[in-house]
Amino acid sequence: MDKPYNNKAWFLVIPVFLLVALSAIIPIMTVINYSFQDTFGNNQFFWAGTEWFQDVLHSDRFWNALGRNLVFSMIILSIEIPLGIAIALTMPKKGIWVPVCLVLMALPLLIPWNVVGTIWQIFGRADIGLLGHTIEQLGFEYNYASNVFDAWVTIILMDVWHWTSLVVLLCYAGLVSIPEAYYQAAKIDGASRWSVFRYIQLPKIRGVLIIAFLLRFMDSFMIYTEPFVLTGGGPGNSTTFMSIDLVKQAIGQFDLGPAAAMSLVYQLIVLTICYVFFTVMSNVGVDKPDARVED
C-alpha cells in the first residue's frame, strides 16, 4: 500500500457518514430499543429483557423461514453462478450484436421488483399465461398458487430470469479484460480448453465472481417483493421467506418486540455470512500464480 496516511481525509467522508448514519444508525437504535421492551399500547413500554430473543430462537416459525431462505439461496446460487459463467464464456468478445445483447440481458435488472412478480404472474397463470398454458397443454398439472412444488419452481425460475444477467455481465466484464496475448501463449503451449479456463480465465474473473456471489447471496437472502407479489408467501407458508415473515409480523400484526428481535437476529446472520464469505473467498487462491501459461 503506497497510500499516504492522512486523517484529514475524514473531512471528505463526513457527508457520507452523516447521510448513512441518519438512515442506518437511528433506525437500528429504534429496533434495538423495541427488541428489549414490551408494550400494551398507549405508548407505554416495559423492560422485557431477552424474552423476545428467546422466543424467536425457540420458535419453529423463525427456523422454518430461515431454512426455506437458505435452501432458496443455495438453489439459485448453484444455478445462476455456473449458468452465468457459461453464458459469459460463450459470448463473443466483439461484434455489432454484442452491445445489443448486453442491453437486452440487462433489461430484467431494471424492472421494478413488483413488476417482475407481476410479469411472472401473468406469464405463469394457467388461464392467461404463456408458460402456464403451455405446460397445461403438455398435459401436466400446473398451478403455482396451490401446489407447493410448482410455486417453488416458478419462484426459482423467476429469480434465474431476473438475476442471472448480473452474473453474466460481471463475468463478461472480467473476460474481455484478458489480453489476447494470454490466449496466444496458451495456444503455443498447447493448453486444453479446460486449462485455459482453469488457469487464465478463472483467476481473472475471480474478483468479479466474488462480487457476483456476494450480491446474489445478499439479495436472495433478503428477497421480499417478487415472491410476495407472485405467491404472497403461500400456498400455506411454503414460500414465506424471512423478509416476508418479518413484514407480516411488524406491519401486519404489529408485534414490535418479536419483530425487532427477529430483525436483529436476521441482520446478524446476513452480516456474519457475508463477512465469512468475503474473507474466505478473497483469500482462496491468492498465493497461487495468477496465470501460469503466461511464462
Binding site: 492522512n6 440481458m105 431494471l110
Partner: protein
C-alpha cells in the same frame, strides 16, 4: 405513446434468429470462435428466455380484458390502445410515474454528490478506521430492507416528512450511497496518482483540481454510479411504499390498484408494467458502452 408501440416489434424480432444471421465478422475477429453458430446459440437461447415473459406482458397490454380472459392468442387479435389511454388520462395513474422519477432523480443526485469526495478519500488516503468505515458502509448495502421499514416510518414521521419525495430519496441513500462509494472508488483507483500531484504542483487548489481535472477523468465512472443509483432506487418498492401515502406514491405501488371488485384489470396492469420498463431501457441505452465495465463496478 410512440415509445410503447416501438417496443413491441423489438421484443419479437431481437431474439435468437436475428443474432444468428450476423456472425461472419464476429468469426473473423475472434480467433477462438470455432463455430460461429454455436457461439451465438447459448446467448441467443438465453436472451429468448429473457424476452419471452416481457413479450407476453407487451402482448397482453394491447389486448382487451375480454380477449385476455376468453381466448388464448399469441398476438392481439384486435390491438387496442385502451389500456394505455386509461393510464395517460387518469392523473392518479400518471402522477405515479412522475413521483417515482422525482425521488429517483433526487436520490441519484444526493448519492453521487456525497459519494464523490468520500470515494476520493478511500482511494487516495489511509486514515483512522478507514477499513472499518468501508465495511460498515457496505454492510448497509447488505441490510434487509424489511428490517428498516418500521423504524424508517417512525423516523420520517417524527420529522413530518412522510409522503414527500425527499423522504424516499433519503431513505434510498441507505443502500445507494455505499454502492456509489464502492463503484467510484474502483474507478478512481484506476487513475494514476501522479495526475493529482502534477495538478497540485501546477497550483490547483483541491476543489478546482477535483472539478476541473479529476471529475472529467472518471466521467464514465460517475455515469455508471449514477446508473446504479437510478437502477436500485427505481426497482425498490418496500421502503418507497411504506413512506408514501398519496402525494408521493410510486407507480409500482399504484399498480396494486388494478385489483378491483370485478377482479384484476389485467390489460391495464400489463400496460402499467410495460411503462415501468421503459425508463430502465432508456437509461441502459445511455450507458451501453460502459455496461460491462460498470457491472464489474470498475474492478477489472
Amino acid at each position: 405513446m410512440n415509445q410503447t408501440s416501438h417496443t413491441q416489434p423489438n421484443a419479437g424480432s431481437m431474439n435468437k434468429p436475428a443474432n444468428l444471421i450476423d456472425t461472419s465478422n464476429v468469426r473473423a475477429s475472434n480467433r477462438f470462435a470455432k463455430k460461429s453458430i454455436t457461439r451465438w446459440l447459448v446467448p441467443g437461447l438465453y436472451i429468448l428466455f429473457l424476452m419471452l415473459p416481457i413479450y407476453w406482458l407487451i402482448n397482453m397490454s394491447f389486448k382487451t380484458n375480454q380477449e385476455i380472459l376468453s381466448s388464448f392468442t399469441l398476438f392481439p387479435a384486435e390491438p387496442t390502445l385502451h389500456n394505455y389511454t386509461v393510464i395517460f388520462t387518469d392523473p392518479s395513474w400518471y402522477t405515479g410515474y412522475i413521483n417515482s422519477l422525482i425521488y429517483v432523480g433526487l436520490n441519484t443526485v444526493i448519492s453521487i454528490c456525497a459519494a464523490l469526495p468520500a470515494a476520493y478519500a478511500f482511494s487516495r488516503y489511509r486514515f483512522l478506521g478507514d477499513k472499518h468505515m468501508f465495511f460498515w458502509l457496505l454492510s448497509n448495502r447488505m441490510a434487509p430492507a424489511a428490517v428498516f421499514v418500521l423504524p424508517f416510518f417512525q423516523l420520517y414521521s417524527a420529522f413530518g416528512l412522510i409522503d414527500t419525495h425527499i423522504a424516499v430519496a433519503l431513505a434510498h441513500c441507505l443502500f445507494n450511497v455505499p454502492l456509489a462509494v464502492w463503484i467510484l472508488e474502483g474507478f478512481m483507483s484506476g487513475v494514476p496518482k501522479e495526475i493529482d500531484e502534477t495538478a497540485y504542483i501546477d497550483g490547483y487548489s483541491f476543489p478546482k483540481f477535483f472539478v476541473k481535472i479529476f471529475m472529467p477523468l472518471i466521467a464514465s465512472g460517475i455515469g455508471v454510479a449514477a446508473f446504479f443509483c437510478f437502477m436500485f432506487s427505481w426497482v425498490e418498492l418496500l421502503i418507497a411504499r411504506t413512506l408514501t401515502t398519496t402525494d408521493a406514491k410510486p407507480i409500482s405501488a399504484i399498480m396494486t390498484r388494478t385489483v378491483g371488485a370485478s377482479g384484476v384489470d389485467w390489460g391495464v396492469l400489463a400496460a402499467a408494467g410495460v411503462l415501468t420498463i421503459i425508463p430502465g431501457a432508456l437509461v441502459i441505452y445511455f450507458v451501453r458502452n460502459y455496461i460491462a465495465k460498470g457491472f464489474a463496478l470498475g474492478r477489472v
